[in-house]
């Protein structure tokens, strides 16, 4: 198979790499670049554990080839914390016990973080819909919804 040279910008750092055309974005991130935060739970775009952000949009990185993201701005869970401090959303996941085994968590955080950018006073039901594509087998979701709600409340409080 002819290999291709591409550039991926991950959390602000540019990486040049050579991949086969069939290499998935998640494989390139995990195996070629060592960003192992995104996890592989299904390889069929169903579980959401591999969710990362590409040019601002949360996508399942197992459903996209690495070459399709050539030149794109990619954000992974490794880039969420700022200067070594957990981001407010991560803090709320910890405070509200929104994770157990943590395998779904990187994807869940990327989906929730993207949703939170434009969320406006959503109901719990709406939050549940927003994370519907991310499966969690451990938590039963209740505390994840709490964590997302609490992040929004915190944000509102700081705007007031």
């Amino acid at each position: 198979m002819t290999e291709r040279e591409i550039t991926l910008s991950v959390n602000g750092t540019e990486h040049d790499l050579t991949v086969e055309p069939r290499t998935l974005l998640v494989t390139a991130l995990r195996e070629d670049l060592g960003y192992t935060g995104a996890n592989v739970g299904c390889e069929t775009a169903r579980c959401g554990a591999c969710t990362v952000r590409v040019d601002g949009e949360a996508i399942k990185s197992c459903m996209r080839f690495a070459i399709q993201s050539d030149g794109a701005e990619i954000e992974t869970v490794e880039g969420l914390a700022e200067n070594g401090d957990l981001a407010p959303l991560q803090e709320q996941f910890q405070e509200n016990h929104g994770l157990q085994c943590g395998f779904c968590t990187p994807g869940m955080l990327m989906t929730a973080d993207t949703y939170l950018k434009d969320a406006d006073d959503p109901s719990r039901e709406e939050i549940r819909e927003a994370i519907e594509g991310n499966l969690c087998r451990c938590t039963g979701y209740h505390n994840i919804v709490d964590a997302i709600e609490a992040t929004l409340e915190q944000r509102e409080a700081s705007h007031e």
Binding site: T36, C47, Q94, Q100, G102, I131, C136, R137, H142, V145
Partner: protein
């Protein structure tokens, strides 16, 4: 212990302390098995059977071997020829059990879809997978069977020649004559026939193994997704690879959920290790999700007829249960224990039932092996007794909650010996039940139900009581019943010279928050801040002995070992303190980490200062060895028995059959609560899995024996929108069988939720004369039960 030995300060036990383990999991820093990269790693893929049942005539690997990047291709015959013991042993024997050899790769026949036939090792995972297609297998297809009743009743070719009738065991428990008498004397008899479908655990992280055989030292290092690295070490050593235990290191790094599926010693991880030994280089295997569906052990798979004898006043006289339990194509590790001792012994539920008889026929079928899944055995048993309670209430025209209440074991009867051969430790069943009913507003809902029915709306209220046996012990009893391993747990509690503490324990976390919980236990016993305690799990070279995490044993058995180890350390520290204070040991009190002479608190030594003395070793009591640590093997005197009551309120839509789960209330009693936040998390996750079983999940096979539900869009793992918010509450009845009064909580809610939700849906359908519906209850089932389309 003197009065003042009761730790007075808030050292963490009982506090909702945030989990220490969270930060790496939240930042992507955590290391799961698949995150580990060793230089020179080759990748394994396994060619699996496409047939449910077939004789293997020939396996031609030559084309695959010739492919680019393929390192080696091995068949079952190659494994056999290598001279290793090549057995995946079952860990629980039963009288008359048939035990065919379960090999690492099939040689003569394939017995279920997904059975491993050949192993490809290649330079990249893609190359290994590509080569699978190039292996040519010639089969003679045989008739197959997937249903446990059909497999023993219909004339079909046996799964194993050793069991011509496909019966692996025929198990009985209880007193058949006493039950016959009870049924003859009782006013009424009610019955129910039910199916508990196969469930597929679906831990989010697929099973993965990375093996590294060191040719020079002849030592195997194996990182794997394991719930019990020590058990894996033991079974790999003796049964499968024939390597001494001290030449195997099993490491379970972060494990992304297990729910039972990562307890078992599977062929795949053993093949990974064997390949590394053949090649002298690291080999990695990672299951794809689809591979997981056909190879991770499934759970449940029961077909049951159950009867209950009751008097008109609601007194239950006896129950009689016959179950065909599907075991799949091989006897997995606990496959025999789950549908026998873990199932039949819990059939009394929370009730005083004088006569119980249960027969279980364990049947081989051409399906993925079945083993313990969250709630194993207890879940199936509680489901049976709770469905019986509902059908009996219907028969008697009695409120189902009232019938349950009438038969509860009263608090002053503990320890209570059931007619199903176990002794319940402690319980205040009515207190938990009252709390749950009050919380949900049971009476109001019954009124609302009557009113709504007038309007053609169908509300249902489901109540289930549960008790479970947790901790699977003591070792002697387990041995008498057929266990091939002990039920103890081991810990090392070690102070270092600077006063910080390391706790090493043989349990293994898969998201339960052991590091935090166990630190809280040690902090409580030692009077040391939780932040000064480090908990280490999951590495057999660091932690010499252990048995792992399953059967809700970690807090009670692992926690018990830690508490006892910490107490031993504390007593040694007390002796050193007495020496330093020039007082007699009996006069030394321990308070909040400080030792002082009774009545003279001014001069004291903190246990962390004593630790420094212990390692200096300059001035210790005569004949005392330096150091401050203890190794403890804790073998509990009995199981613990968590319990509780769950209530669900549903409304079903007669137009669509849709089920709206309006409320879900759980009142659990898991004994003393170490960390309420973590306990709640366990309950939440458990409820979701129980609701999943009741309404969404269930494996299905087609007529060719192929698994139909083999993808995440075919097998309905609940999404966030499938489950409601949960309302949880607790009562606390400490277990007298445990050093810290805990009972365990990992499985309770899964056990409770399935009968609760089924009960609620069936209750909603009472006007349509529906007594029972099998899981998963889909809108279609409901719609048909309501006469839809007629």
């Amino acid at each position: 212990m003197s009065e003042s030995d009761q730790p007075t300060d808030n050292r963490g036990f009982g506090d909702p302390i945030e989990r220490d383990e969270d930060v790496p999991l939240l930042t992507g820093e955590a290391t799961y098995t698949d995150d580990i990269q060793l230089r020179g790693t080759a990748h394994l893929a396994i060619r699996r059977s496409d047939h449910a049942h077939a004789r293997i005539l020939e396996v031609d690997t030559s084309a695959a071997e010739a492919m680019d990047d393929v390192v080696a291709v091995y068949t079952g015959a190659d494994v056999e020829d290598s001279g290793v013991p090549n057995t995946i042993p079952t860990a629980w024997m039963l009288p008359g059990l048939v035990t065919p050899q379960y090999r690492m790769l099939a040689v003569d026949k394939v017995r279920h879809e997904g059975d491993g036939i050949a192993a490809v090792v290649a330079e990249t995972p893609q190359a290994a997978r590509d080569a699978l297609e190039a292996i040519d297998v010639e089969y003679e297809v045989l008739e197959h069977v997937t249903d446990p009743v059909e497999s023993v009743e219909r004339d079909v070719p046996p799964v194993h020649e050793e069991a011509e009738d496909n019966v692996a065991f025929d198990f009985e428990l209880g007193d058949a004559d006493a039950v016959d008498e009870a049924f003859a004397d009782a006013d009424q008899v009610a019955s129910v026939d039910l199916r508990q479908p196969r469930l597929i655990p679906n831990a989010m992280e697929p099973r993965t193994a990375l093996a590294d055989w060191d040719v020079a030292t002849e030592k195997l290092r194996l990182w794997m997704t394991s719930q019990n690295p020590h058990l894996h070490r033991m079974l790999l050593s003796a049964g499968t690879l024939g390597i001494p235990e001290n030449k195997i290191q099993v490491i379970a790094p972060e494990v992304g959920g297990g729910f039972g599926s990562k307890i078992y010693h599977y062929p795949d991880e053993a093949v990974t290790a064997w390949c590394s030994m053949q090649l002298g280089r690291p080999v990695k295997w990672k299951a794809s999700r689809m591979e997981g569906y056909v190879t991770d052990c499934h759970g449940r798979d029961h077909t049951t007829s159950a009867e209950i004898a009751v008097d008109d006043d609601g007194t239950v006289r006896g129950i009689r249960v016959e179950t065909h339990a599907g075991l799949g194509a091989q006897l997995s590790q606990f496959a025999t224990a789950t549908p026998s001792y873990l199932y039949a012994t819990i059939l009394s539920g929370e009730y005083a039932i004088p006569a119980i008889y249960c027969r279980v026929i364990g049947a081989f079928t051409n399906t993925t092996p079945v083993d313990a899944y969250r709630g194993a055995g207890r879940s199936e048993g509680i489901y049976v007794i709770e469905r019986l309670m509902d059908v009996a209430a219907r028969e008697l025209e009695m409120d189902p909650a009232e019938l349950r209440r009438t038969n509860l074991v009263p608090p002053d009867e503990f320890p209570y010996e059931t007619a199903a051969a176990v002794v319940y430790d402690s319980g205040e069943y009515e207190r938990a039940m009252d709390k749950a009913l009050e919380h949900v507003g049971y009476d109001d809902h019954r009124e609302r139900q009557a009113e709504l029915r007038e309007e053609g709306r169908y509300l249902g209220i489901g109540v289930a009581n549960f008790v479970e046996s947790a901790g699977l012990s003591p070792s002697g009893l387990a041995g008498d019943l057929g266990a091939q391993a002990g039920g103890w747990e081991s810990s090392i509690v070690r102070f270092d010279s600077t006063g910080t503490v390391t706790v090493l324990v043989g349990t293994a976390d898969q998201g339960q928050g052991h590091r935090t919980t166990f630190a809280q236990i040690a902090a409580e016993e030692l009077g040391v801040d939780v932040d000064d305690i480090d908990v280490v799990e999951g590495d057999t070279d660091q932690i010499p002995q252990g048995l792992g995490t399953y059967g809700s044993r970690s807090a009670s058995v692992g926690g018990g070992a830690i508490a006892r180890g910490a107490r031993e350390v504390r007593e040694k520290a007390r002796e050193i303190a007495a020496h330093q204070l020039e007082a007699s040991v009996d006069d030394i009190e321990f308070d909040d980490g400080e030792f002082h002479v009774a009545g003279a608190p001014d001069r004291s030594y903190h246990i962390q200062e004593i630790a420094a003395e212990a390692y200096l070793g300059h001035d210790l009591p005569e004949e005392m060895d330096p150091g401050l640590e203890a190794t403890n093997f804790y073998d509990p005197e009995n199981f613990t028995f968590p319990f509780g009551t769950h209530v669900a309120v549903v409304e079903v839509d007669p137009e669509t059959g849709g089920i709206d789960l309006e409320r879900y209330v759980a009142v659990d009693d898991c004994g003393e609560i170490i960390n309420p936040m973590i306990v709640e998390g366990q309950v939440h996750g458990g409820i979701a899995q129980g609701i999943g079983a009741a309404l969404y999940e269930g494996a299905a096979y087609d007529d060719d024996g192929h698994l139909l539900t083999r993808r995440m869009d075919e097998y309905a793992v609940p999404h966030s929108t499938y489950v409601p918010d949960f309302e949880t509450d607790y009562t606390v009845t400490p277990s007298p069988h445990n050093p810290i009064g805990v009972k365990g909580v990992g499985e309770s809610a899964t056990i409770a939720a399935a009968p609760t939700v089924v009960s609620a849906v069936v209750d909603a359908l009472e006007p349509f004369d529906v007594d029972h519906l099998d899981m998963p209850i889909t809108p279609e089932t409901v719609w048909q039960a309501m006469g839809g389309g007629e």
